[in-house]
């Protein structure tokens, strides 16, 4: 027992001393409907100074679906004004997680969707309700919004344009 504790202690001291450049976003492994697997931290970092939008939703959340449908309808038009990256994150747990891929493909949405089956990312980013939209730029959260009422996507596009 003592030996295990000493080994654990030495190991943890070693890894903590080897800390290098500091990033402050949570590291959560995500799997996309497209099959892509990535760490959330890397996803944010790879977008650099291009605005990246993460929209938290679920297959059972009607306002979320309306928001994503409306964003999808204007997707190409708004991308032409100012390019941005856009991903959905489905918080469906194993009750409805098997629906996410057929649902997304059935909708024909133009953006990729990640799944967060045990709400790890939702919890790490302190999201209480869906829909919830977070905008990142240069590795930082620059804007977030909860809830959706018809027409609100225009605010989002306006915010992206001004960032």
């Amino acid at each position: 027992m003592k030996k295990t504790c000493i080994l654990t202690f030495t190991f943890l001291v070693f890894i903590s001393l080897s800390l290098s450049a500091q990033e402050s976003l949570p590291s959560v492994k995500l799997k996309a409907v497209s099959g892509r697997q990535i760490d959330f931290k890397d996803l944010v970092n790879e977008s650099k100074d291009t605005v990246m939008v993460i929209s938290f939703w679920a297959t059972w959340c009607i306002p979320c679906i309306s928001e994503l449908d409306n964003i999808n309808d204007a997707f190409e038009e708004k991308q032409a004004i100012k390019p941005f990256k856009f991903y959905g994150v489905a918080i469906d747990d194993s009750r409805t997680a098997q629906r996410v891929k057929p649902f997304v493909r059935g909708k024909g949405w133009k953006f990729d969707v990640f799944t967060d089956v045990n709400s790890e990312l939702k919890r790490a980013l302190n999201i209480t309700d869906v829909p919830h939209v977070i905008l990142f730029k240069n590795g930082k959260i620059v804007y977030r919004h909860t809830g959706y009422i018809a027409g609100e996507e225009e605010n989002l596009f306006e915010t992206i344009k001004n960032l």
């Binding site: 800390l19 500091q22 949570p26 309306s66 309808d73 194993s94 891929k101 057929p102 045990n118 302190n126």
Partner: protein
């Protein structure tokens, strides 16, 4: 001090030491560059008496549930707490014996590297689909079965992922006396066999889990198992357009209050498959289970307190007011059934699709008893539930969208204490959303439920107005014109700004099962005011 507590305290101390050492070393040289992140959520209710709907006014007329969560990330470290206050708990949230309390209920330290993570303190985790083990939080329903102990994640090779859990399950403000430990391993067969990958290469993973619970037994029986072991195995196969998942769980003898101290073993089998093609998505699920209720406390009768596994009802979650009257909840003692879903979008520019497209969603689910509790595939004669439903959604213009849905439900009355007869109901719902100016809209929805049984027919109307962001108003009425002639009306407003939302409502709620994420709790009828606030913040 027990060795379990010692291990937890020791590991916490080591991580705390390193965490603060690095934070303050950085602070001394420059400033703290970490990231603070938090949220606050509060739901408060004021109760009034209403004899007609049998709403009682409790001694404590005001109740309030509050959740404050704070997290801090610094490099590879993160730490956090969750503080909860129940002054007292809102009606039906916990067993009525639970009194007012407030406490820091969760605290954790986590160290994450690319292929390694360790968390000490309170943690959430899931093995496979959760059929054998799931620790999670659902504030709506009142579930938080986080484990206090440690959780390790490691990728020892390119093709393998291993998770280890060890600790005690949270039970409201305390922890279960039982000790839970487990391990899950997942192997990526494509990486293992070094298959050359291209866009058509399927993803194939094999998984295995082991969960063991030790709960001291001091009773008179010699053969009573203090340790309950459960094993699970799973296979996931997926290509771009097709997927197949299979999971099987076997649980050893686990006598507890809810299964009437049965010494029978438990089993569960779940199969899911999906297929997608241009604007078409379809899925089919099958699940059979027997004696699979796995609990951290054998004397606990409430499904929301200290569960070890997750057994959601695999049915469609509807957003109609009337659809929530007859909702199915899983029968862990024995059940067999499944569901199928179909989604299709008629392309824009076609006759049905119109300028903006038309989507169709259809679902069918069916569940029945098992004939023989030791045979998972022995479908029984007693039907528990079925639901056939179809929904059409059409966007006519940039301003107008309509929905139309139909649902046929069979509900076995013996599943709910309130009703004894089997209920067959038909529901029709129609809704319209009209945007009369940018950011100004109105939504109106009408529903009708017809049945000859239980309380007879119901109807409902709902309207929502959003005049200009951030304000929104709603009014609704659910009316049982079949038998009780009761109106369950609600009016309210909400204001949203960035990541904060405040809402206020006044009205009546019917008694019934309140379900979220497929787990249900009974909520008594209530009448009064409800206020909710949610906010998220970060530095």
């Amino acid at each position: 001090m027990k060795s379990y507590q010692f291990k937890v305290i020791l590991l916490s101390s080591i991580l705390t030491f390193n965490f603060f050492k690095h934070s303050f070393a950085q602070y001394n040289s420059q400033y703290i560059t970490g990231h603070f992140n938090g949220s606050y959520e509060n739901t408060s209710q004021y109760y009034m008496k209403d004899d007609k709907i049998k709403a009682l006014q409790p001694l404590e007329k005001f109740s309030s549930n509050g959740f404050l969560k704070l997290d801090y990330n610094y490099g590879d470290f993160s730490a956090g707490i969750q503080y909860e206050s129940y002054m007292p708990p809102i009606m039906g949230y916990f067993p009525f014996t639970v009194e007012s309390n407030n406490k820091i209920v969760n605290k954790y330290f986590k160290y994450t590297q690319n292929k390694f993570a360790v968390q000490v303190g309170d943690f959430y985790e899931q093995f496979g689909s959760g059929l054998i083990f799931r620790a999670y939080e659902n504030r709506q329903i009142g579930i938080n079965n986080a484990l206090e102990g440690f959780n390790v994640y490691v990728e020892p090779t390119d093709f393998m992922k291993v998770k280890v859990i060890y600790g005690r399950v949270r039970e409201i403000f305390d922890y279960s006396k039982a000790l839970t430990r487990g391990m899950d391993a997942e192997i990526n067969l494509i990486s293992l066999l070094k298959v050359k990958e291209n866009e058509h290469t399927p993803a194939i993973t094999l998984g295995g889990s082991y969960v063991s619970k030790y709960e001291e037994y001091t009773g008179p029986l010699d053969n009573f198992p203090a340790t309950v072991n459960a094993f699970a195995t799973r296979l996931d196969f997926s290509t771009n357009n097709f997927s197949l998942n299979a999971e099987y769980v076997n649980k050893g003898k686990d006598p507890h209050l809810v299964n009437n101290y049965s010494f029978k073993k438990g089993n569960a089998l779940q199969l899911n498959s999906s297929f997608t093609k241009n604007n078409l998505g379809a899925s089919i699920s099958f699940r059979a289970l027997t004696n699979i209720d796995f609990k951290s406390d054998r004397e606990q009768e409430f499904a929301t307190i200290g569960p070890l596994n997750y057994l959601p009802a695999l049915t469609k979650q509807h957003d109609n007011l009337t659809s929530n009257i007859y909702v199915y909840s899983t029968q862990p003692k024995g059940e067999i059934g499944g569901q199928t879903d179909l989604y299709y979008t008629f392309k824009t520019g076609t006759k049905i699709g119109g300028k903006y497209g038309t989507t169709i969603a259809a679902n069918f689910s069916y569940y029945s008893s098992l004939n023989d509790s030791s045979d998972l595939l022995s479908a029984g004669k007693e039907k528990y539930f079925s639901d056939v439903n179809i929904e059409l959604r059409k966007k006519w213009s940039k301003k107008m969208e309509t929905t139309l849905s139909y649902q046929n439900v069979f509900y076995n009355g013996s599943l709910q204490v309130l009703s004894n007869s089997n209920v067959i109901s038909n529901i029709i719902a129609a809704g319209i959303l009209y945007k009369f100016a940018p950011k100004k809209s109105v939504r109106f929805k009408m529903e009708h439920l017809s049945t000859k049984k239980d309380q007879g027919n119901w109807t409902s109307a709902l309207s929502e107005f959003s005049f200009s962001s951030p304000f929104a108003f709603f009014a609704s009425d659910l009316y049982n014109y079949g038998k009780t002639k009761n109106h369950y009306y609600n009016v309210g407003a909400s204001v949203t700004r960035k990541s904060s939302r405040f809402s206020f409502a006044y009205g009546k709620q019917r008694a019934g099962l309140f379900c979220a994420g497929g787990v249900c709790r009974f909520v008594p009828a209530n009448y009064g005011f409800t206020a909710s606030l949610t906010t998220s913040f970060a530095n």
